[in-house]
């Protein structure tokens, strides 16, 4: 009986404390990552800004939380991307400046962590896309960051995805290589399939994005059926993925119909 009472006391204390501390950092992480994922899939600025706010709040409580810093940078990158696609230079400039500063700080703090390096390579990539004048300085830096990220952890699927993206989007004479891009995306796809999430706060995004890139490589190679498989696989994982659902797949279907 004594034992039962002590267990009861313990449960009450535990649940009460949990109630007092809600929401927990873990819950905030979950919510922030979910909003970030939805914002990315649906290209939704509001969701991304909400996600950004959550990770900033986590960093307010725990300034050294590298995962929160990473997700904050990822949200800023996605917001900059929206700024670029919407031709909103002010939005683009603000978030690019901020994400570069944050990623530089992270790389300085943890130089052997590949995630911020590969993300920074993507940020450089969109800066080049936004304005070609950045290519001379940022192009080689972007490629070397992407390569370094793979060297640091060859089992990280996002590093391979971003290397593939650099290889695909960089003209061949600057070091781009569609074949190597394909191999990188395939490698990333394989790693995503076998990835084992140890920490739920760690970055785990990229699988459907990688399939979208992989599909595009297949389109370039005129392997339309493979491309459709890749796009459909992406939609089977994430049915709301707007880029694939509303742009890449319909365009592919149209192309295939024209070919027939």
């Amino acid at each position: 009986m004594k034992t039962q009472l002590f267990i009861l006391l313990f449960i009450v204390v535990l649940t009460s404390t949990a109630a007092a501390q809600s929401p927990t950092i873990a819950e905030l992480f979950r919510e922030g990552k979910q909003l970030l994922h939805q914002g990315d899939m649906q290209n939704d600025q509001q969701l991304l800004m909400k996600s950004l706010g959550i990770f900033e709040r986590i960093l307010s409580a725990d300034p050294d939380n590298q995962y929160a810093a990473y997700h904050r940078a990822h949200a800023e990158y996605q917001l900059a991307l929206i700024g670029m696609t919407q031709k909103n230079d002010e939005l683009f400039d603000q978030y690019v400046k901020s994400v570069c500063e944050h990623l530089d700080q992270m790389i300085e703090a943890k130089p052997f962590w590949p995630e911020p390096q590969s993300l920074l390579s993507m940020v450089y990539g969109i800066r080049i896309s936004h304005n070609w004048i950045n290519a001379p300085v940022l192009g080689p830096n972007a490629m070397s960051l992407a390569k370094k990220a793979v060297e640091l952890d060859s089992t990280n699927p996002r590093s391979w995805m971003m290397l593939g993206s650099m290889k695909l989007n960089t003209p061949e004479f600057f070091g781009g290589n569609p074949q190597e891009a394909l191999e990188a995306f395939q490698r990333a796809d394989s790693l995503f399939a076998h990835v084992h999430i140890v920490d739920s706060c760690a970055p785990d995004w990229g699988q459907v994005e990688n399939l979208a890139w992989l599909g595009q490589v297949y389109v370039k190679r005129k392997q339309y059926n493979d491309a459709r498989t890749a796009f459909q696989k992406a939609l089977s994982i994430e049915p709301t993925y707007g880029w694939v659902k509303f742009q890449l797949l319909p365009k592919l279907e149209k192309n295939m119909a024209t070919q027939k």
Binding site: M1, R57, S60, P136, V137, G175
Partner: protein, 735 residues
């Protein structure tokens, strides 16, 4: 016993339960300075993850377990991060109303300017840095690129800016607030050919062809205001090599990216291009120039910077000259130095202050026959510009400047301008003129004028005084505009502009120390519309009335009774025709006459070019290949013809008899430049741009000036050294 334990458990549970429910509520609103809600601002208690984001009405509410004194943080990009002390108690929720301020005062106006072209979109972007670098025929030269804009008259291949019928000295060039009076290389009597400002150091620029603000003084026609880059954030180097130029540049950040050094050096050597393209027989010594642009910047706070900028340039050439009385060699060399220290900072988040102390020198030597003229220009200047934006709709600009200049002319000049032979009569000159000018200005910019959201205006006034010449003037200026919609606006500008006449005309021996400042009144009506994405048009009508211009006078050498006008229309259309192909068309119509200097009556000015047309097209064939073309057409330049001659047997020389001032006109100016650019990567790391530029590909002989046979019976045309068809192959490698 068990009951006691059970009671204890319940008490503990109750205590923790109460503690668990002991949350404090924070709620409130976030708005901007205009009172509009700020959506999705991040609101949280410092040091905790407790918070939320504001909703579409700017409202927020959240619970926190923190009690007592706390700091509420509100942040969103674009606004200054806000910290607010609050007290959290269970008695009542903390209710706060937060007003967010714009993050950093940016140097963008609330008023969109007339006649302005800028890299700042807020001021009406037309010319981008990419345009400067990639404009075919522009040789990546800022002046050559600005010459493609309407309002800048195409008088010759030279780089000098002839703005709406004005003389090049009527346009001032400022670099980091420092006035630079000789920004050209290869300056001859026909003007300079290229700028010695390296495009790589340019961060942004503002060019106005009229109706500009009270910020700019002692200038009648135009302003080119250049900002150089601040500290670099990435280490990079570049090497450039072409048939005409070699360049080397480095940007080196240090001290944790709070400081940085930029070094840009160029050495031009034209022998190879004239050897390849012909024309080398014109030169005894081929034109060559060197320039070094260096800046050292230190960012001492998030908003404050100190920048040291140094520009050193020199050039020389020896050209065969064919004059009626003499065939000889024109020797030219010049050296320019400019050093400035600029400091800029934002105070109290509303006051942006820039201040610059600068020292410039210019030395040049011209020799031809008996002529041996040494010119020197030395200046010490200080300038301060401040912008205070205390509401989103209102901005106050104010500042002041002082310049001390010494102009020196010494050497030998021919007595008669038609005889420059080595044995010709000459006079020694050795004059040195000192002058200082003080200027101050204030301008108020206001949008939402009289409560009308679409109405904007600025009213400004400046006062200048030149104590040594006993000159002073007051220039009121205003601009008003109305937005016709999101993408269209109509603007009107009016202002009085004064400028000190050429300092040589104040010489008591052959000038008049009592000359008045030259005066121009600008009136501009403009309309611009963005028709679609990457498709915009701009139309402007302008009138510039000159008065108090120096005019030859039989009694006082010169009087201030000269006058003139320049009026016309400028039109620009910029568009992207389809993906990868874009460009712009600029057309300017100009009608200008002057009665000044030695003009006998009101005549077309030397820069009266009625029709100016520029078409610039650029096409990305593939992401790595770009083809561009620039076509320019301009009416021929007026000149005063020689209608006869008189023979002087004692010196065996014919003297020309001139016709009416500027009564003849050269044939029209036409030119087509093309450029093929290829982007590639060398050695796996170096981003490389390779270009083949064909200047004046149709080899149209555009006239630079004219000369005559020895008895003036036959007229011969002079062509610019750089006006022939020239092919240039070059590359720039960044690593």
């Amino acid at each position: 016993m068990y009951r006691v334990i059970l009671l204890l458990v319940l008490i503990v549970a109750l205590a923790f339960g109460l503690f668990g429910q002991n949350k404090f509520i924070v709620r409130g609103t976030v708005s901007d300075e205009e009172g509009k809600p700020v959506i999705l601002a991040n609101v949280f208690i410092q040091g905790t993850p407790d918070g939320t984001t504001s909703d579409e009405h700017g409202k927020f509410a959240f619970e926190t377990v923190k009690s007592g004194d706390a700091t509420l943080i509100v942040s969103i990009l674009g606004y200054k991060r806000c910290s607010l002390p609050i007290h959290l108690s269970s008695a009542q929720p903390a209710i706060v109303a937060i007003t967010m301020k714009n993050e950093v005062l940016k140097s963008k106006g609330v008023v969109v300017l007339a006649s302005a072209y800028s890299t700042d979109k807020a001021m009406g972007s037309v010319l981008t840095k990419m345009d400067i670098l990639m404009t075919p025929g522009g040789a990546a030269d800022i002046f050559q690129s600005i010459k493609t804009l309407p309002g800048v008259t195409q008088v010759s291949e030279n780089a000098e800016l002839y703005v709406r019928g004005g003389d090049p000295v009527e346009t001032v060039t400022l670099i980091d607030q420092m006035a630079v009076y000789h920004p050209y290389s290869y300056e001859s009597v026909y003007g300079g050919v290229f700028s010695n400002i390296n495009t790589n150091i340019i961060n942004g620029m503002f060019f106005s062809s009229g109706g500009f603000s009270a910020k700019y003084g002692n200038v009648l026609s135009g302003v080119l205001d250049i900002d150089t880059k601040d500290e670099p954030t990435e280490l990079s180097n570049a090497v450039g090599l072409s048939m005409a130029c070699a360049s080397l540049s480095s940007q080196i950040p240090f001290a944790g990216n709070t400081a940085g050094l930029r070094i840009e050096t160029r050495h031009s050597f034209t022998k190879s291009i004239f050897w390849l393209n012909g024309g080398s027989e014109q030169f005894v010594s081929f034109p060559s120039s060197q320039d070094i642009n260096t800046s050292l910047t230190y960012r001492y706070s998030s908003t404050g910077r100190i920048k040291l900028l140094g520009i050193v340039a020199n050039d020389k050439e020896e050209v065969n000259v064919d004059r009626p009385e003499y065939q000889g060699v024109f020797h030219e060399n010049s050296t320019k130095h400019a050093i400035s220290m600029q400091m800029k900072d934002v105070f109290a988040n509303v006051l942006f202050v820039k201040s610059c102390l600068a020292y410039t020198t210019f030395d040049s030597d011209w020799k031809l026959g008996v002529l041996d003229l040494i010119r020197a220009d030395e200046g010490l200047q200080w300038r301060m510009d401040a912008e205070c934006q205390w509401t989103p709709f209102r901005r106050l600009l104010f500042g002041g400047e002082t310049q001390m200049r010494t102009n020196e002319y010494s050497g030998i000049v021919p007595t008669d301008d038609y005889n420059i032979r080595p044995d010709a009569n000459y006079k020694d000159i050795n004059s040195e003129m000192h002058g200082s000018r003080l200027g101050t200005y204030m301008e108020l910019e206001q949008s939402h004028l009289l409560g009308v959201e679409r109405l904007f205006a600025s009213f400004g006034c400046r006062y200048d005084v030149i104590p040594t010449l006993d000159l002073q003037w007051v220039d009121p200026r205003f601009r008003i505009g109305y937005k016709l919609g999101e993408n269209a606006a109509i603007k009107v500008g009016w202002g009085i502009y004064h400028q000190q006449p050429d300092v040589r005309l104040f010489n008591p021996e052959d000038g008049n120390p009592h000359l008045l400042p030259e005066r121009a009144i600008h009136t501009i009506i403009g309309f611009d519309q963005k028709i679609a994405d990457r498709f915009d048009i701009r139309l402007e009508l302008y009138n510039k009335e000159y008065s108090q211009l120096p005019l030859k006078d039989s009694l006082a050498h010169y009087s201030s009774n000269g006058n003139g006008y320049a009026r016309g229309i400028d039109f620009t259309m910029r568009c992207e025709i389809f993906s990868g192909l874009g460009g712009y068309i600029g057309y300017g119509y100009l009608d200008t006459k002057r009665h000044w200097l030695d003009y006998t009556d009101s005549s077309p000015s030397s820069y009266d070019i009625p029709h100016n047309l520029t078409i610039v097209l650029k096409y990305f064939i593939t992401p790595s290949w770009q083809l561009g073309a620039t076509y320019k057409y301009a009416t021929g330049r007026p000149y005063t013809p020689v209608i006869g001659s008189q023979y002087y047997s004692i010196i065996d020389l014919y003297a020309p008899i001139y016709g009416s001032t500027n009564s003849a006109r050269n044939k029209e100016f036409q030119r087509l430049d093309m450029r093929l650019t290829h982007f590639t990567q060398l050695f796996g790391v170096a981003f490389t741009t390779i270009y083949l530029e064909a200047l004046n590909i149709l080899n149209i002989h555009n006239i630079y000036g004219c000369t005559y046979s020895s008895n003036y019976s036959e007229q011969r045309e002079i062509y610019s050294c750089f006006g022939r068809r020239i092919l240039v192959l070059g590359m720039v490698m960044n690593f």
